[in-house]
């Protein structure tokens, strides 16, 4: 029930963000922001309720993982909003949140029994850090998409709907850098805690199960991006494409691995 309520508020916020995008009416934007904040708060309550119902950190089912992912994106966005404003960023982000929430809604919400291997303090630490990192990387993905659209408008010199509505390339590039400088250390920390937990649970830090491998691939992609940015001065279109690819790897680690490959993480469904 609580989840459905949250879902509806998110849906309303997203709708208002879309209305704002086409009309550019500031009143609509204020309403959309308030609704999104409301949805974020409601979502937090939902997660707490879920914790109580399950009796353990609710990050072991597919529904819970994706829901928490959406929650991370929401709060990552709201924390950014606190610091600086990116024109029409909310519209893009709310669409991503909405997509995640829809996936969460469509998957089974049954609370599962926690296998003994997962009964550890590492569960909330590892899973929440790893997924929260994804929240910031998702913002970077939105920024990358926006950058590519705006870059294309400026290069092709046809100034459509997006040209006036999207912020400057500089602002979008800054945004992607910010997301990366927060998201990447968190991703690193997520992998490290996972490794420590693996040592505790399975006796080995690293056993090349598909989830681990794909996490490493994701990490390498982002590490490469960071390196290119700071050492060689990559920026703009290339970094935008890289952050989109990186996020694709994030999604594959989350879903592709679970559904296409099998390994030690498979009980997270």
């Amino acid at each position: 029930m609580l989840f459905t309520g949250t879902y509806i508020v998110y849906a309303l916020a997203t709708t208002l963000y879309l209305v704002f995008f086409s009309s550019q009416n500031r009143k609509v934007r204020t309403m959309a922001r308030r609704l999104l904040l409301g949805a974020g708060v409601l979502h937090t309550i939902t997660l707490i309720a879920r914790y109580i119902a399950a009796g353990h950190t609710p990050l072991t089912t597919h529904h819970d993982t994706v829901s928490f992912f959406a929650w991370s994106v929401t709060w990552a966005f709201l924390s950014f909003r606190w610091r600086y404003e990116i024109k029409n960023f909310g519209t893009f982000v709310s669409l991503v949140i909405m997509a995640l929430m829809t996936v969460a809604r469509l998957s089974s919400q049954v609370v599962n029994e926690l296998p003994p291997a997962l009964q550890s303090l590492w569960l909330p630490i590892h899973a929440s850090i790893a997924i929260a990192a994804n929240g910031f990387l998702a913002l970077g993905f939105c920024g990358g998409i926006m950058y590519l659209i705006q870059d294309r408008q400026l290069k092709k010199k046809n100034f459509g709907v997006f040209y006036h509505r999207l912020p400057s390339l500089e602002a979008l590039d800054q945004l992607s850098q910010h997301c990366l400088t927060i998201g990447f250390p968190m991703l690193t920390l997520g992998i490290m805690t996972g490794s420590l937990w693996a040592k505790q649970a399975w006796g080995a830090y690293w056993q090349w199960d598909p989830k681990e491998t794909w996490s490493l691939i994701t990490w390498l992609l982002y590490a490469g991006l960071l390196h290119q940015r700071f050492a060689i001065g990559w920026r703009g279109r290339r970094t935008a494409i890289m952050s989109i690819l990186g996020f694709a790897a994030v999604l594959f680690t989350l879903w592709g691995v679970n559904f296409l490959l099998s390994g030690a993480h498979t009980y997270v469904r």
Partner: protein, 423 residues
């Protein structure tokens, strides 16, 4: 004075490449004005020199001889032969000269049609000439009317706004690329009028440094001073491109001055910081392929007008409107000039006096009851008065003298008796 005695000899961006125009640069206006005073047959003259043109506007009693002299004086410091000099210059005579001057003043002959600086430059040129008594009745009237033609074009068409909005568009685009223009550096290649306008807009939006690169350092220094920037030579272009963010190009060179292969290696040293090229030269200065490089954005004049949604056909209709105004003002001047001769002035003078006489007679006679004989006597009396009164002014006009003073006399009489206002 015949209209064929009004001439304009000059070079501009259409007839001569920048390399030739630069050789005609006269930094000090005193020199050419003093030289023109010595030209045989040349009576009134004005010397206009801008980045894109050098023109002598003059009247002459011997057009052919004066033209030859002026041309050789203009090209004195170049190593061009007379044939080459003829090929690069244009000579407009009579009505053509009038139309040309009005088109220049109205900025219809500019590299970027509608740019506003040219009118100020013409005003300066006129002030310099008239302060030194180089202009007389004809040129005073001609150039003043050029100013009014320009004003009419500005207020009745949108031609001026398109030039302003082109630089406005450049600023808008720069903001979409850089976000904030604070502390951004601008490089002006070529010290043209439009470049100056664009730079003004960019500086107003926060750009801090302006660097001017030009083939002649002198012009670069002049423009750089305006923006408290520095001047460099065009040979240093590549070095400068490593540090600047925006480049406005308007050199008017006949070929491309910057190619894609030259910009590509620069991006590495720039650490991929975005570069915004604005090419307002016609023909183009910058290789269109430059736009394909990552983080580099290239816009030419047509692209910029697209941003402000002024399409070419709009500009064309505005230009047609402007041309009509120019022709209209030209005809007005011709009407005035036609009257600036002895016979029409005497006729006008007599006619005016006679009109006054007849009007006053009619008023007086309406209240009196006079015989036909008495009316005839009054008619004779009044005619005699105005004839006697006009006798000396007309003798004075007919008196043979130097043609300069003749024009002055005609002008004075026409103004004394207000002969031009009724038409």
């Amino acid at each position: 004075m015949s209209v064929e005695q009004i001439l304009i000899l000059g070079v501009n961006h259409k007839t001569a490449p920048v390399a030739v125009r630069e050789k005609l640069a006269f930094p000090d206006i005193e020199v050419p004005l003093a030289m023109l005073a010595e030209v045989p047959g040349c009576e009134e003259y004005c010397f206009l020199s801008t980045c894109n043109r050098v023109e002598v506007i003059f009247t002459s009693s011997d057009p052919e001889k004066s033209t030859r002299h002026i041309r050789s004086f203009l090209f004195a410091s170049s190593d061009l032969t007379e044939e080459e000099a003829i090929a690069y210059t244009y000579l407009h005579q009579g009505t053509e000269a009038i139309t040309h001057l009005y088109r220049v003043a109205a900025s219809l002959d500019s590299m970027v049609v509608g740019e506003p600086q040219i009118l100020g430059q013409l005003k300066n040129a006129y002030r310099e000439a008239s302060e030194r008594n180089c202009t007389g009745v004809i040129l005073n009237r001609l150039i003043h009317k050029a100013f009014s033609a320009a004003k009419r074009v500005r207020s009745e068409t949108n031609i001026g706004s398109s030039a302003v909005s082109i630089s406005y568009a450049a600023v808008q685009l720069a903001k979409k690329i850089f976000g904030d223009l604070k502390n951004k550096k601008v490089l002006l290649a070529g010290a043209g009028e439009m470049a100056e306008l664009a730079a003004e807009h960019l500086v107003a939006q926060g750009c801090t440094e302006v660097i001017v690169a030009n083939r002649t350092l002198e012009n670069a220094v002049k423009l750089a001073k305006r923006f408290k920037g520095k001047a460099v030579s065009l040979a240093e272009l590549h070095e400068q491109l490593e540090v600047v963010d925006i480049m406005v190009s308007s050199t008017g060179a006949p070929h491309l001055i910057l190619k894609k292969d030259e910009v590509l290696p620069l991006m590495r040293t720039r650490r991929n910081r975005p570069l915004f090229f604005i090419d307002i030269a016609v023909p183009r200065d910058l290789d269109p392929e430059i736009n394909e490089i990552d983080n580099v954005y290239l816009y030419d004049v047509d692209d910029l007008s697209q941003v402000v949604e002024i399409n070419k056909s709009d500009r064309a209709t505005e230009a047609t409107k402007a041309e009509r105004i120019v022709l209209d003002e030209g005809l007005k001047f011709l009407g005035w000039l036609g009257n600036m001769a002895l016979a029409p002035t005497i006729t006008d003078l007599r006619k005016k006096a006679d009109e006054i006489r007849l009007a006053e007679m009619e008023k007086t006679l309406a209240n009196l009851d006079l015989s036909e004989k008495e009316v005839k006597a009054i008619d004779k009396l009044t005619s005699a008065i105005i004839n006697k009164l006009l006798h000396n002014p007309i003798l004075h006009l007919k008196d043979d003298c130097h043609s300069d003073t003749k024009q002055l006399k005609l002008d004075m009489i026409r103004r004394f008796f207000d002969l031009d206002s009724q038409k």
